[in-house]
Subunit: 237 residues, 2 copies
């Protein structure tokens, strides 16, 4: 089994296909597309390590997070990633720092990682910008990835990247068949959820399009996941 990718237009799972033989990408081959063939990685879960770097060399890393994909699209992010303390977190931090320094990155860099079934970390993708796996930091960290990106590109001292809560969970809100206003759903989504934050991107809703996200925080991960999903559910249309 291999993973095939088109070299352009790949985003949120688009332009990726898992195949057993060449005839499964006959349509792509017919179009004369250049294709990238990769080994299919057997992974346990997906992680992401975000780091910010300023021209003077200062670096700041947020805790490693777990991202859960659904249909090739990031659905949820848990910060910090459960069961990563110690060796795994140190390795992810080393990888991110090495890449940021060797590529002379300025700003926020997201390193998406596979935790393989044989306990390795494999780099999946790099994004040289604030990233979906860092949205939790707006409410959940002392410094949001957007503030940090500005500090970094302006070569200002970087902000603290600690967690405001033991656990933060971000759930993406995707557009559905009904393109109605998200604002109509605020009263129900926010009801009895005083600590949940909703961020609307002000985008026209289209099925599957990321139009906002919800963040919840707290001491008990199960409860935080429950609350974030419950609020996000009201926005799915």
């Amino acid at each position: 089994m291999r993973s095939l990718k088109t070299p352009r237009g790949g985003y949120d799972g688009k332009g990726v296909r898992i195949v057993h033989s060449a005839d499964e990408v006959e349509d792509w081959l017919r179009d004369g597309e250049v294709l990238l063939v990769e080994e299919l990685v057997e992974f346990r879960r997906e992680l992401a390590q975000l780091v910010a770097r300023r021209p003077s060399g200062e670096l700041a890393l947020w805790p490693i997070v777990e991202s859960i994909q659904r249909d090739g699209v990031c659905a949820e992010v848990i910060a910090p990633a459960p069961r990563t303390a110690g060796k795994l977190a140190d390795l992810a931090a080393d990888i991110a720092v090495t890449i940021a320094e060797q590529l002379d990155v300025v700003g926020v860099l997201a390193v998406e990682l596979f935790e393989t079934t044989d306990d390795r970390l494999v780099i999946n993708e790099l994004a040289m910008r604030p990233h979906n796996t860092g949205h939790w930091s707006i409410d959940g960290s002392t410094t949001s990835q957007f503030e940090q990106h500005l500090r970094a590109v302006l070569d200002l001292p970087l902000g603290a990247t600690g967690c405001r809560d033991p656990w933060s969970v971000m759930v993406n809100v995707l557009g559905g068949p009904d393109s109605g206003s998200l604002a109509d759903r605020y009263p129900l989504a926010l009801n009895d959820q005083p600590t949940v934050k909703f961020h609307s991107y002000g985008k026209q809703s289209r099925p599957g399009r990321k139009v906002g996200h919800v963040t919840a925080g707290g001491d008990d991960l199960d409860e935080v996941v429950y609350r974030a999903r419950a609020a996000a559910e009201f926005f799915h249309s």
Copy 2:
């Protein structure tokens, strides 16, 4: 001794004079101004209780804060106000709730209070809007006063008003004789202060004008005050 106030144009200590006899406001009397004469209150310190209320009746109170004035202008705010737990905090909350309900307030209401030397709470001023004594909430509370004001006027469920840190300290940044850019001072002000946040209002600097504020948070009040003042000091010009 009396406090005299002009009924209009009063702000940040302007239009207020403490007098022993009428000839000390001869200039105001000559202008034919209507004046408000008040008993001068002997107070130990100034406190503020902020509350948000939505049309449906839901209320949310932030912890009571202490505000420290310099030359009639708010210089610093400590959240929560030290030594207020229990009776004092309960009384301030009762006062704010009573006013919000009786005046049918919608949005954020700031109740400025004197804690008198004979242990009473006296209302100094009311502001029906987000207020300088609530700026700490942007970084220090789960819900900032600005977010809460929007929730309230839109009649949406109110957000949680708990503190993110045991102590938050806000220090106002006032313009000085040098009208240079605040941004030039970011590198020094933010250096080695990763948890301090600076907010610039994008205003033209004028001597004594509030042009921004700094917020720090942490476990040790003395240290938080020190850090907030140290950062703010770099912006005073």
